[in-house]
């Protein structure tokens, strides 16, 4: 009888420890995702600023403004639209300083998006864990969403091989 009690106590405290650990991890991951989103948002704003610094291109400025001021639900689509307009832009006609500022801002968007999507991936993996769902360890926090935009093809960045970079 005493053995049974010991077993139950060990089992319960083990489960409690696991739940506390999962909750701590989850809290850390939500923070990481929020911070990564703030950084991605800032990088997208920087890209919009770099675009608006290109003198006189009204269509581009419009697309940039629309993207950063979009509703969250429309953000991906409008940022993608801006990306499309930018990929069609003839960089050779730009002042070298604005062109390099734009290329830098675009590369930073690529990095910020990887950082954000990585955080989302890790958070979602834990959120879908059985214990986390059953014990509702995530509380009312919404399930984070990936930010999917097409990446610009950056010229001169690293070696390329058909099919291997995908």
């Amino acid at each position: 009888m005493r053995f049974a009690w010991v077993a139950v106590t060990v089992g319960v405290s083990g489960a409690a420890w696991g739940a506390i650990r999962a909750a701590t991890r989850l809290d850390r991951l939500h923070m990481r995702t929020d911070a990564a989103w703030a950084a991605l948002d800032a990088a997208l704003h920087q890209r919009a600023l770099a675009v608006s610094a290109l003198n006189g291109n009204v269509a581009l400025c419009g697309a940039a403004l629309a993207a950063v001021h979009a509703q969250p639900s429309a953000r991906e689509e409008l940022e993608n639209e801006l990306g499309r307009v930018l990929s069609a832009l003839n960089r050779g006609g730009l002042a070298p300083a604005s062109a390099s500022r734009l290329a830098d801002a675009e590369q930073r968007v690529v990095i910020a998006r990887r950082v954000y999507n990585d955080a989302v991936r890790d958070t979602r993996a834990l959120r879908l864990h059985r214990m986390v769902r059953w014990l509702r360890l995530a509380g009312t926090a919404p399930l984070p969403r990936y930010f999917e935009i097409a990446e610009p093809a950056l010229a001169g960045y690293g070696p390329e091989l058909d099919g291997a970079g995908a």
Binding site: R28, Q107, V110, V115, D118, A125, P159, A164
Partner: protein, 384 residues
């Protein structure tokens, strides 16, 4: 920026990851940043002094890992050293190399309380081992803020087996040092000189293929010589080569970058016959920077560095016949060698350390911007 870099492999043993860590640290310091490196290293080797920015974390133990014997450090002493080093320096960003190797990087990751950038070097897709380790390591790996892969292949391993995406930034090379190196006394010589750089005792480096090819080449080039740079047992190599070839082989042993550059400047062709397990091929970029024509196995990683064969000759991996034909043709054609050297020098510019260091810095800044502690501080400011 204050950057803390951790290398899992011993600096006492030369290797690709070690060279990468030191080269990147130098490159970043050249850009005016504060960099500290923590790595296993024995301090009782006065012939190889450590740079002042390196903190040695003690002796490493040889452990079979990724097809090589990796000089790793772990255990309570290593944990203590990592903790003290992180406590002594207030880093903005930690840059951990190969954090899946059971060594200092993994320890640093477990202890980290700030943005972490991780670089993944290897590209061996050993799915089962990695998947098993992944499940176990996931809570620790969650602390990585941004990931860098040194090649598209390393990035693919990242995506497929480790559940994450990575920014692709290639390895760097000290272009100036390799481009300006003087050949060894007595070189370049007539009669054909082939070079090999790497741990020649490891089967995956393909020395046996090269020896087979050299037997063939020696028929048309009776004076051909093989210059070998790298860590390994020279006696065993000469025995394996047999009496006919042994007299044509000169083993220089393990060399620093200077010795390697001099050797590359001395040979007519560098041969890289590796059979697999290569994620990048630093020696290829060094040869391109030195203007040394290259014959390499057609591994995916090498194909990328050699621009699909435009900057070097690719041959079927593991085939002594294909290799001997390619060596024979190149030794016989000085014009083609000159053209390959020129193409190589042009291509090498993209791997120059200042270029690579600037791109790595962008990732540091990306990780720094995504630091949850900054978000917390901002929220606190708003609420107060």
């Amino acid at each position: 920026m204050r950057i803390g870099m951790v290398c899992p492999y011993s600096l006492t043993v030369p290797g690709g990851v070690q060279a990468h860590v030191l080269g990147l640290a130098e490159g970043l310091r050249g850009l005016g940043h504060q960099v500290e490196v923590l790595a296993p290293a024995s301090v009782d080797k006065p012939d190889r002094p450590l740079p002042e920015f390196v903190t040695p974390a003690g002796r490493a133990v040889g452990v079979p890992y990724n097809g090589s014997v990796a000089p790793l450090a772990f255990g309570p002493v290593a944990i203590n050293r990592v903790r003290r080093w992180m406590h002594d320096h207030d880093f903005d960003v930690l840059h951990l190399h190969e954090p899946t190797a059971p060594s200092l990087s993994l320890i640093a990751l477990a202890l980290a309380d700030r943005p972490v950038v991780a670089t993944f070097h290897f590209a061996t897709a050993r799915s089962r081992a990695l998947a098993a380790a992944h499940a176990l390591l996931q809570p620790t790996m969650e602390k990585i803020t941004a990931r860098i892969a040194v090649s598209p292949l390393a990035r693919r391993v990242q995506v497929e087996y480790l559940g994450g995406d990575a920014v692709e930034i290639p390895n760097g090379v000290d272009v100036l040092q390799f481009a300006s190196a003087q050949p060894l006394p007595g070189y370049p010589r007539a009669g054909g000189t082939v070079g090999f750089v790497g741990r020649f005792g490891e089967p995956r480096k393909g020395m046996s293929v090269l020896l087979g090819a050299l037997c063939e080449v020696a028929r048309t080039w009776p004076d051909v010589r093989l210059l070998v740079v790298g860590h390994g047992d020279a006696g065993a190599l000469l025995r394996a080569a047999g009496p006919a070839l042994a007299s044509r082989i000169r083993v220089l042993g393990a060399q620093g970058d200077g010795g390697k550059a001099a050797a590359l400047a001395s040979v007519d062709v560098l041969c890289v016959p590796a059979l697999g397990g290569e994620s990048f091929g630093i020696v290829l970029t060094e040869a391109l920077a030195a203007g040394t024509p290259v014959v390499a196995s057609d591994l995916d990683a090498f194909r990328l560095v050699l621009d699909n064969g435009k900057a070097g000759v690719l041959v079927a991996a593991g085939s002594p016949t294909a290799l001997s034909t390619a060596l024979d043709e190149l030794l016989d054609d000085p014009e083609r060698r000159a053209a390959l050297a020129a193409a190589g020098r042009r291509r090498a510019a993209m791997w120059d350390w200042p270029v690579v260091a600037r791109r790595v810095l962008q990732v540091y800044e990306g990780a720094f911007a995504a630091d949850p502690r900054r978000l917390l501080r901002a929220r606190r400011r708003i609420s107060s």
